[in-house]
Subunit: 304 residues, 2 copies
């Protein structure tokens, strides 16, 4: 389970930072989160096999979060894609993509499946065998969502030695995996004697762009990794408020209150030459903070 | 007068070549020709003062020629632009830009003035004191235009020594500049005794994307610089024909027949690791050929 930062800057791409895009391998689900202009180049630059992407989540329709989408989808098409693509975004994005492909005579050879984000409260938007994704309404100048990716609890592991010792049958093993005890006539084998706990489910929350939103503390309580925007330093907090952005200090305050594992900061205003001040400001409240850079990778779990 | 290559690749941006975009300073008119995805980053990379751009010419609506436009215009807006922008393009581009700005709540603080390219024959689309621009219909899978930029003939230069020797008056100097003789009573001072020829007007033709089009020879006869696409090698000429593109050999054949000054080749298929073969193929017909690279600059005249 790996997160790759494809772009970590705000507003306009610079020679140092692309605009927002992240690639998430979450339990072998291949996910793109936001797709600013130039994302198709960033995926090449950082070695992402972009044809594998199955799901695209777009937080909101500001150019630095979606303008790379037409180019990315066009290149996927040109390079032979046939698998459907799920796009989770504001309904207007569907209109924009459809009009643009139509007026420029682009016929995609794969299906675009749109999932409109419109809910006013946190909503489950995707669920499968291994994960759930929730869309969390943020507070920005236009409709904007954060995304919470949560692994489901895996089955209990069955001790190979117990299988051998008691010559466990397939139905018995399945029962143990599901947490049940095994009954042989009068004798009960307690589940805990033959199994071990599954690994703790992993979780990742992505929150950009938004003004400082204290209710997020409940929404993202205890996530392993939280990516949160930190467009400004605390000394620019009035500007942050006016533009519906968050300061590094505010993001760290959220991370601390929500008891997250790691805080990743990004979406830095181009006014900051480096992230030293942003980092020290955040770490004064929440030490386990990283200011991300383009191409940086984070392993959410050891299994891949 | 300077041309800056901002992107020289075809179809999709790669780590080596951006997609098509060129910046042309033509007699202090600041012109952008095509605007593929990532152009706003390329202008930063190559030091182009992009707020000075007054005219944007878009050859056609394939993604690698126009997808950078919304991002570029948005960034111009964000950075305070107020001067109007003239856009010469297929009418559909106006619909695309307007819908996209409207649906994403972008309010530009400068005017977009659209000039629709629809003519079936070569047409004058812009004229001012110092230059003319013609749109030349090309032959591609969708409506596509080349552009011919021509300097107007400047006034004759008046010899400073003649001004001093004959104590020429302002009306006399203006008459000489306009090519007239100066009359003082019975005495005629022939124009050629006091003036010298103005510099030869410069010209630049931009032709991409198109199948091999021999009628271009007449349209671009004698231009100083011709940029022509050379997507393929001659050995791929069937593929070139099928996809409405040109080979390096064909482009060179045009350049030779049209007696251009310099031939610039670009829009290379990503299949070619380098341009050695493309260049030697073209130079076998037209020696004064360059295969361009991103960031390369060409001085069309010495005056700037």
């Amino acid at each position: 389970m790996k997160l790759t930062i494809l772009g970590s800057g705000a507003a306009t791409p610079t020679l140092k930072r692309g605009v927002t895009a992240q690639y998430l391998n979450f339990n072998e689900r291949r996910i793109l989160i936001d797709c600013g202009e130039g994302t198709q180049l960033q995926v090449r630059r950082y070695g992402v096999k972009f044809q594998r992407i199955q799901y695209i989540f777009i937080s909101h329709l500001h150019g630095d979060h979606y303008l790379g989408l037409v180019g990315l989808l066009s290149s996927m098409n040109l390079l032979g894609r046939v698998n459907a693509m799920h796009i989770f975004a504001a309904p207007e994005l569907e209109l924009i993509l459809k009009q643009q492909f139509e007026l420029t005579y682009v016929k995609l050879n794969f299906e675009l499946i749109f999932h409109h984000l419109t809910a006013k409260t946190t909503t489950l938007v995707l669920e499968d065998k291994v994960m759930t994704v929730k869309a969390i309404p943020l507070k920005h100048r236009i409709s904007c969502y954060g995304f919470l990716f949560e692994e489901k609890i895996k089955e209990r592991g069955v001790d190979p030695e117990a299988i051998k010792e008691f010559d466990l049958t397939i139905p018995e093993i399945l029962a143990l995996k599901a947490g049940k005890d095994v009954m042989r006539g009068e004798i009960t084998m307690p589940n805990e004697d033959a199994t071990f706990d599954p690994p703790k489910p992993k979780s990742y929350a992505f929150c950009t762009d938004t003004k400082y939103l204290t209710r997020l503390v409940d929404e993202i309580q205890g996530v392993d990794y939280l990516y949160h925007e930190a467009t400004f330093l605390e000394k620019e907090k009035d500007r942050a408020k006016a533009t519906f952005h968050t300061t590094a200090l505010q993001a760290a305050t959220l991370a601390k209150a929500a008891q997250v594992g790691h805080l990743l900061l990004g979406h830095f205003s181009a006014r900051y030459r480096n992230t030293d001040e942003l980092l020290s400001e955040a770490q004064s409240v929440f030490p386990n903070t990283t200011c991300v850079y383009d191409g940086q990778e984070f392993y959410l779990a050891k299994n891949n």
